[in-house]
Amino acid sequence: MKNKLTLILLLIFSISLFGCSSQAAPYSPESFYMGTVINQKVYGKNAKKAGDLVIDRMKEIEASMTINTPGGEINPLNDAAGLNPVPVSPSVMFLLNKSKEYGELSQGAFDVTIGPLVKEWGIFTDNPKIPSSDKINELLKLVDYKTLLIDTMNNTAMLPMKGQIVDLGGIAKGYAGNEAIRIYKENEITSGFINLGGNVVVLGTKPDGALWNIGVQNPRDVNGKIIGKLAVKDTAIVSSGDYERFFEKDGVRYHHILDPKTGSPSKSDLIGVTIVVDSTIVTDSSTDGDALSTSVFVLGLDKGRQLVESLKGVNAVFITEDKKVYVTSGLKDKFTFDDESKVYQYVQ
């Protein structure tokens, strides 16, 4: 009788374990940095520590790279434009070099010195305005990533012309995504997700081994409405579009992505692009994805697709003004077209 009781207790114990075998909930803190909301889902025993370290790092990146509040490293660089070189940290040095690299790669469609025009348009302020064409042409003379001087020996950078402004807004969030993944890995996290205001970076698979399902926003619908989804692991997904930030005047939509050649919101045939970068092939997947999404959005479908297809481990979903959806060959088995609005046409 005693044996049976032990047996029953043992069975109850084992069954209750079985009943709880579904995955533990992730640590999912929300934070507000870099002008956006940051959501994480971190799994594993160090989840809380890693997630909190990521929040600390986001705060640091914002403080060092912002040009919207005083302090940091970019403000002194801009203040010393036309005057003298200023010392920069390895992170900023890395991003300045990266920005120049993508300036070359995109033939100037991505330009880190676009700052004077961003400021003139007041894009991220509460009072955006349309500058005169004279003003635009005058400021365009200051926009040229090639003029940015980087001295890797002395760890300094310099803008040669007075009035030049470096704006890392097109790449800093991407960098932050890679920093989050680095911190996850350093804390032995094997399953993690971070969404930095629409830039999604995932580490590994979900804890049960399933791929992450990431929606691609419908550029003309309310937030959360998608045109399709991507099933991925170890990937950075970065979108750019005319819908993210814009203002309307006299029926014209002025969005936030300026074409460095015209100094005005880019007028390519794309309304949205989503760059998908395999982190197992491309080390700085999220940083590169961020620079590329702006580049491709400005370049348009044909040139943008050429650029994406020339890069290993990089793919893209393109959404054109005439409501067609295209994907590069590497996404054929990862992308599922799913347009509830029935407005878009998937061109395979």
Binding site: N195, G215, N223
Partner: protein
């Protein structure tokens, strides 16, 4: 001896069977609650949950006022929720409008307030935008 064992086996067997059924049912019920069958809205400020509410079970409309660097008024109705009013400079939160689907989210960055309907209609882990 043989008979005695058999009887004992039967007792153990039926208890085991019962427990298996209960544990399966428990997991099943838990999963159906967690996978967004309901429209659970979560209001957070600076990562602290202010309110969690099942919008489908809401009988009459409700207003929630949130203080901070700025002020937000959130309106809850049966099945939907929105930022109704705010004194933040950009009013992005108010312009986002109604949220009525699982996975939708509205944010007031200046006041660090987010409103989200949990879960996802499509089984999504996130949306890139």
């Amino acid at each position: 001896m043989f008979n005695k064992m058999k009887k004992g086996d039967l007792v153990v067997g039926s208890i085991v069977l019962l427990l298996i059924i209960i544990s399966f049912a428990g997991v099943k019920i838990y999963n159906s609650l967690g996978s967004g069958n309901g429209k659970i809205a979560v209001i957070r400020q600076n990562n602290i949950i202010i309110k969690t509410i099942d919008l489908d079970k809401l009988k009459e409309s409700q207003e929630i006022k949130i203080d901070g660097d700025f002020h937000n008024t959130i309106l809850l109705e049966n099945g939907r929720i929105r930022f109704e009013d705010a004194d933040c400079p950009d009013l992005v939160c108010v312009k986002t409008g109604w949220l009525d689907k699982n996975g939708q989210m509205a944010v007031c960055l200046p006041n660090k307030v987010s409103v989200k309907i949990e879960g996802s209609d499509e089984g999504l882990d996130g949306v890139a935008f």
